[in-house]
């Protein structure tokens, strides 16, 4: 371990800038966005320096730590606020600061007409700081702080235009769904502390083999719940579609590239837990498979371009989660897909934002069509992202998704065939819905309003898109050539250096199958969407109807959780009013009534009191007389 002295600046700079912009208020309106962008770029500079310094070191010395202060010191329980930058964290730090900076630049132009642009940038910086803390914390407790921080930033940014009630509700929905996951994380931390007496990654890793299988499974399941909440995985997936209410750069940064992948980070970081508990691992796989198909199916029917991309994000993260559930070999592939996905999905979201920017914030793809002629740069960058996500070689998604499909097949036996089949099916559906998106948006006949005047976006917007497009093209090859990323991450995620004992299918065959799936998906979409109706057809199959309704996820949540919850609370309210308040008020009322009765005895006449005294004395004397007789 190397000790470092400037890791803290990665977090402190954006945090400080965010607070400064919030405190200065309107005073900072003129230059707030510039400061925020500069700070984000500086953080990227620090991250890049650290990355190169890290490459100069070897073995154990690669990871760097920094203790900021002693946080908790109670008896045998000690937690320091310290940071850990290892091979896994640096991937995230570079992604967060790099894509983050590009999106800051993009937002300068995208938000230029918004009078609250400074507030927006302040939140963006807050997000960067919290997300960096999440990936840099060296214990579950430090991670938890960042985890909550990104939840807050996400809430603030989804509800950035909170003057629209629907958007404010979407923010609340995301927050509530995330809270459910957060409960899982806090429970996992508590179980870990009860079992191991420590919550640091290193400590838990060292002690993991001493715990009972049940405890490990419990920790794993709770961590998975947390990951499902943050990463919009089944069964907590419903918030992501509504989170698209936020400004598009937010969707690109938080709800596509970085925050929603925090769940994948959590599972990967806790690899020692999941490797030790087969049950927890199986749960991860199940959640991943369900979500990757769930998201893909929703994506096939959405007409809102951002919601279609959000469904796609859900599905792609399903791929990553699935990969993390496939054991030590899967983690590196999950991170690889996460990084390439960060490029192409952020790029496509920015492309969608660019189209919306030119089309007066229209999001309905049925009102688009033929936009490639008026927005060529956007079309090209989006197209490169498209080729990357569906997995056409040599674009990024091909390398990363192919590896996941391959690993799924290699899981062995029936499980392997089922998982491999599901990933192939997912790849076909991905090709279908992404072709649908690109056909409806950029190709075909114009279907937009007479009033709309689509135009290419300014350079501040297309330059980040172009850089991300280059990433979508090249990142897959760079990360996988010579197994670069796999070897880089191996000390963290696969310390025992496992390799596949046997290959179920030849890698070339798997690639062939994946490509065949893509071709099938693309050709169905091309045939089906040669012409697009401006109004969504109503006489559609039951499957389309279900997908349009997000596979009834909201109806399910409403029927199973919301309605019973509401009747529970209203029941509790009436119980409170009738039983508890009734008891309290009853005691008061009976005392008032009783004392009112007693009050009548006190009539205020001296002679009455005297008579009572006389009678009392007589009674006393009589009693004494009777007793002594």
């Amino acid at each position: 371990m190397t000790t470092s002295t400037h890791l803290v600046y990665l977090i402190a700079l954006p945090l400080f800038s965010s607070l400064l912009l919030m405190l200065l208020g309107r005073l900072a309106d003129k230059w707030g966005h510039l400061l925020a962008t500069l700070v984000s770029a500086t953080a990227f500079g620090i991250a890049a320096t650290e990355f190169f310094a890290m490459q100069g070191r070897t073995g154990e010395a690669r990871a760097a730590t920094q203790k900021i202060f002693e946080w908790i010191n109670v008896g045998s329980f000690k937690v320091d606020a310290s940071l850990l930058l290892d091979q896994l964290s640096i991937c995230f730090v570079l992604l967060i600061t790099g894509v983050g900076t590009l999106i800051h630049i993009y937002s300068i132009a995208y938000m230029s007409h918004d009078e609250n642009r400074r507030r927006f940038f302040s939140y963006l910086n807050l997000f960067i700081a919290a997300m960096l803390l999440l990936v840099l914390g060296d214990s579950y407790l430090n991670l938890y702080v960042g985890w909550e921080g990104v939840g807050l930033a996400s809430y603030l940014l989804i509800g950035f235009w909170n003057q629209k009630p629907a958007y404010a509700t979407a923010a609340k929905k995301a927050f509530v769904a995330n809270r459910v996951g957060d409960v899982g994380l806090s429970l996992a931390i508590m179980i870990a502390f009860a079992q191991f007496g420590t919550v640091s990654f290193a400590g838990v890793k060292q002690a993991a083999h001493t715990a009972s299988p049940a405890a490990l499974t419990a920790i794993g399941a709770m961590l998975l719940l947390a990951a499902a909440g943050k990463s919009a995985q089944f069964p907590l997936q419903s918030w992501l579609g509504d989170a698209m209410a936020g400004p598009t750069p937010v969707s690109a940064l938080i709800h596509a590239a970085t925050m929603v992948t925090a769940g994948v980070y959590l599972v990967t970081r806790s690899n020692f837990i999941f490797d030790a508990s087969k049950t927890a691992q199986l749960l991860v796989v199940i959640v991943g498979v369900i979500t990757l198909l769930f998201g893909a199916l929703i994506g096939t029917a959405k007409d809102d371009i951002k919601k279609a991309l959000a469904a796609s994000t859900m599905s792609q993260i399903g791929y990553m989660v699935l990969a993390t559930g496939l054991g030590p070999i899967g983690y590196a592939f999950a991170i690889m897909h996460l990084l390439t996905h960060g490029f192409f999905k952020a790029g496509m979201f920015l492309g969608a934002g660019s189209v919306m920017h030119g089309m007066d914030d229209e999001v309905n793809m049925r009102r688009y069509g033929g936009i490639s002629k008026v927005m060529p740069i956007t079309a090209v960058t989006f197209g490169l992202g498209y080729l990357a996500i569906i997995g056409v070689p040599p674009f990024a998604g091909f390398y990363s998704k192919d590896k996941i499909i391959e690993t799924a097949f290699n899981a062995g036996g029936v499980k392997g065939i089922l998982l491999g089949g599901a990933t192939l099916l997912g790849a076909a559906i991905t090709a279908f819905y992404m072709t649908r998106v690109i056909t409806m948006t950029f190709l075909g006949a114009r279907r937009w309003d007479e009033k709309a005047h689509p135009h290419e976006s300014p350079i501040l917007m297309w330059a980040p898109m172009a850089i991300l497009a280059i990433g979508s093209v090249a990142s897959g090859f760079l990360l996988s050539s010579g197994s670069a990323l796999v070897n880089w991450l191996q000390p963290v995620v696969n310390p025992a250096n496992h390799t596949h004992a046997e290959e179920f299918l030849n890698p070339l065959v798997v690639s062939g199958l994946a490509l065949a799936a893509v071709v099938v998906g693309v050709s169905i979409a091309v045939m089906k969407y040669r012409t697009v109706a401006v109004v969504a057809p109503a006489d559609v199959s039951i499957f389309t109807r279900a997908a349009r309704k997000d596979l009834y996820q909201d109806s399910f949540n409403e029927a199973v959780f919301m309605r019973p919850g509401q009747s529970l609370t209203s029941g509790l309210v009436s119980a409170d009013e009738k039983i508890i308040d009734g008891a309290v008020r009853g005691v008061g009322a009976s005392l008032v009534g009783g004392s009112g009765g007693f009050r009548k005895i006190q009539n205020g006449y001296v002679r009455t009191y005297a008579l009572v005294m006389v009678v009392g004395v007589l009674a006393l004397l009589t009693t004494i007389w009777m007793v002594t007789l």
Partner: protein, 99 residues
């Protein structure tokens, strides 16, 4: 003469005083009845002193007299003050504390 007669007299006087306190409304009369009760007690004290052949009862009756004298001073002062302010010496009118 039988010494018990003194006690009968004392009980009779006490009863007269007690009934007077309970049934009369004029503060002065009530006051006089209280004095009557005190003196009935004094008579009983003195009688018992004679009966037992020691002076304890007589001493107690002196105390009672002193207290009664003090009480007269305070009580009459109160009655006069109330009469001045309320033009009434009826004990039934002085029921302000009830409200």
């Amino acid at each position: 003469m039988d010494i018990a007669n003194y006690l009968y007299l004392s009980a009779f006087l006490f009863t007269v005083g007690a009934i007077g306190v309970v049934v009369r409304r004029n503060a002065i009369v009530v006051f006089m009845c209280v004095e009557l009760m005190l003196n009935a007690c004094n008579l009983a004290f003195v009688t018992f002193s004679r009966l037992h052949g020691n002076l304890d009862g007589q001493v107690a009756s002196f105390f009672t007299m002193v207290v009664a004298a003090c009480e007269v001073v305070v009580g009459l002062a109160i009655i006069v003050t109330i009469y001045r302010s309320r033009r009434s010496a009826s004990v039934d009118d002085d029921s302000l504390l009830k409200r």
